[in-house]
């Protein structure tokens, strides 16, 4: 008979083997890389960015061998030429070759974007790790600072700062990064707070590892996936911001060509040539699109929270 003895809980093992949280780091990177490689569109987009970057680096070569023009050579006899064999993408109001200027402009757009990402990440990661690791009043002070930075209407800050520093590629990157680090810091802090709770950090602490070592050797690798994702998603946005600043006349100043400042005067020449508006914008669009697609692919492949 069925006695009370048998009314007891029977916990059965779940189907399949539970994969523990403490999986070896190596396999995580391999798996992520495999996932990224399997995403063909993402890889194609990434290769396009690499191609653009190569063109930017080799801009002198291209303008010498391919277009045969220099970006700042004015030729008033050949203004507003339509795209054709002599000028593949036409010329502007001063007879400068549009394609050549776009190629040189890539140096600014891509250079500033990568520089900005590097700056935002290094500052944001440091602040976020320190805030998350030490907690307490350090955390309070740093995070209020982040709140403040993120609450300033960014565009005002850009305007004032670009008046303050004569913008070149480096200062412009610094200006954009002066806002960008805030969200990175928040992200990293959140990640550090969750990693900090895990046993291995406590264990490392208990054997007396120093703070700096703990942060660099143990916290940083755990924050890295989030950083990679943030970086690859950030590039496209920063290209857009930089182009807008150039367009408003707050960024790279003429005559140095940039994709954004090539559009500054376009409005005045609408009736002469629509191409002057179309090409730089298309270039920005394609570049940002490729960065975003690649960024999404990286996120899908690397974001540990999406894994399940």
């Amino acid at each position: 008979m069925i006695g009370p003895s048998r009314v007891a809980e029977l916990d059965m093992p779940a189907a399949g083997i539970e994969t523990g949280a403490a999986r070896p780091a190596q396999s995580y990177w391999n798996e992520s890389w495999e996932r990224l490689r399997a995403n063909r569109i993402g890889i194609a987009a990434g290769l396009l960015i690499v191609l653009f970057a190569l063109i930017a680096i080799m801009a002198p070569l291209f303008s010498f061998a391919l277009t045969h023009y220099q970006p700042q050579t004015i030729n008033l006899d050949e203004t507003f030429i339509r795209p054709g064999l002599r000028h593949l993408l036409g010329t502007d109001e001063l007879g400068r070759d549009t394609l050549t200027r776009l190629i040189w402009g890539a140096r600014v757009s891509l250079g500033v974007a990568f520089l900005t990402v590097a700056m935002s990440l290094s500052v944001g990661t440091t602040v976020g790790m320190v805030a998350g690791y030490y907690g307490g009043w350090t955390d309070d002070v740093l995070m209020r600072l982040v709140d403040t930075v993120l609450a300033i209407p960014a565009i005002f800050l850009f305007i004032l700062m670009s008046i303050l520093f004569r913008p070149n590629a480096f200062t412009l990157a610094a200006i954009v990064a002066s806002v960008g680090w805030g969200s990175v810091a928040r992200l990293v802090r959140g990640e550090v707070l969750s990693v900090k709770q895990r046993d291995f950090i406590l264990a490392t602490r208990s054997i007396g590892a120093r703070d700096a070592r703990l942060m660099v050797r143990h916290l940083l690798p755990n924050v890295l996936p989030v950083l990679i994702v943030a970086a690859s998603l950030g590039v496209g946005q920063i290209i857009l911001i930089e182009a807008a600043l150039d367009f408003l006349g707050l960024g790279i100043q003429p005559p140095t060509p940039s994709w954004g400042n090539m559009l500054t005067n376009a409005q005045s020449y609408f009736f002469r040539s629509g191409f002057l508006v179309a090409f730089p914008g298309l270039t920005i669009f394609v570049t940002v699109l490729a960065s975003n697609i690649f960024g999404n692919a990286v996120r899908d492949a690397f974001d540990p929270r999406l894994k399940s």
Binding site: I2, G3, R6, V7, M12, A15, I17
Partner: protein, 329 residues
């Protein structure tokens, strides 16, 4: 013999996964008589929940690829979605494992309990709410009228499961399917909810299908019991007989892995060796044979069918069908 209320015949439900087709329910047949309580037992992933969901045709993204579910003279796998909706929540109600997540967090409890009668019986909001409050009281929620105005997060787990049960009962369905109704609850609350289900079964005469991985729950609740393994029923019979004299090695192992207070000495528990099978890549022959201590050569080759073994039980096992008793080891 009375006419069965619900009859499942050779039901097959599959899921397409990256690694291949998973036969979550692989030829399950059983019937449910009016007013009875039937237990379906098995490990997670054995197909017991999918069986229940398939009856309700809520198995998506899985697909029912074969078999019939006869209810009131019609095959529920063939009727239109519209007709199916008329049965769901009206004739057959279902409650789920996790009462914490099974109620919609943004609507008041009374509104949610009243929803079935409003839609199925066309009652106006006032009447439906009054009946909902009445039902909440009957399932043991104190000051039901006031609690009906609360949101789900303001209830404890046990109370939420009572709400789920009340929600199922407002339309006085003939069948109640309870999918692991107590798994997410504390032990003392579990007993209360099981009491409530017993009470509901007696008072409303609702036939109940109780799905659980907990043999103890079945022992106190169900007249009949089915044990599922890898999408198939491996043993079925009256609960008392199955417990006293299991006819399938899997059931036998399950029972031996339960701690017993009346054990003669301090015997160690005997967990089942090995892991549950991978449903994409089932072993040949009997799916249980890699973990089976009684296996014979034939088990690795041929799939046994569910046949009468002994007076009251049926089992899908070459060993017991050949007359061998399950003992020792």
């Amino acid at each position: 013999m009375t006419q069965p209320l619900l009859e499942v015949q050779d039901l097959h439900t599959v899921f397409s996964t990256k690694d291949g087709l998973v036969k979550a329910v692989d030829g399950v047949s059983f019937e449910l008589n009016p007013g009875e309580t039937l237990g379906i037992v098995g490990e997670s992933g054995c197909g017991k929940s999918v069986t229940a969901l398939s009856i309700m045709r809520l198995q998506r993204p899985g697909r029912i690829v074969g078999g019939k579910v006869m209810f009131k003279g019609q095959d529920m796998t063939r009727i239109s979605e519209y007709e199916m909706r008329e049965i769901r929540g009206r004739e057959i109600a279902m409650i789920f494992q996790d009462p914490m997540t099974s109620l919609n967090p943004v609507y008041r409890v009374g509104w949610q309990v009243a929803e079935p009668t409003r839609l199925h019986h066309g009652w106006d909001a006032k009447r439906a709410l009054a009946s909902a409050v009445n039902m909440l009281g009957r399932v043991g929620i104190p000051s039901a009228a006031a609690r009906a105005r609360d949101y789900p997060h303001q209830f404890s787990g046990g109370m939420r499961q009572r709400v789920m049960i009340a929600m199922g009962l407002t339309t006085t369905p003939q069948v109640l399917i309870a999918d692991e109704p107590t798994t997410a609850l504390d032990v003392t609350i579990q007993a209360q909810i099981l009491d409530l289900l017993r009470h509901v079964n007696r008072e409303f005469g609702t036939a109940t299908i109780l799905i659980t991985h907990n043999l103890g729950v079945v022992a106190g609740m169900c007249q009949r019991l089915m044990v599922m393994y890898a999408g198939k029923i491996v043993e079925a019979g009256p609960t008392a007989d199955v417990f006293a004299n299991p006819k399938h090695p899997y059931t036998w192992s399950l029972l031996r892995s339960i701690p017993r207070l009346d054990a003669e000495r301090h015997e160690p528990l005997k967990p089942i060796e090995g892991l549950p099978p991978n449903l994409v890549d089932l072993p040949n022959g009997c799916a249980f044979h890699p973990r089976c201590v009684f296996r014979v050569e034939r088990c690795q080759r041929d799939v046994p069918s569910l046949l009468q073994v002994g007076d009251t039980q049926r089992a899908a096992c070459w060993v017991t069908q050949a007359g061998t008793e399950l003992k020792g080891a």
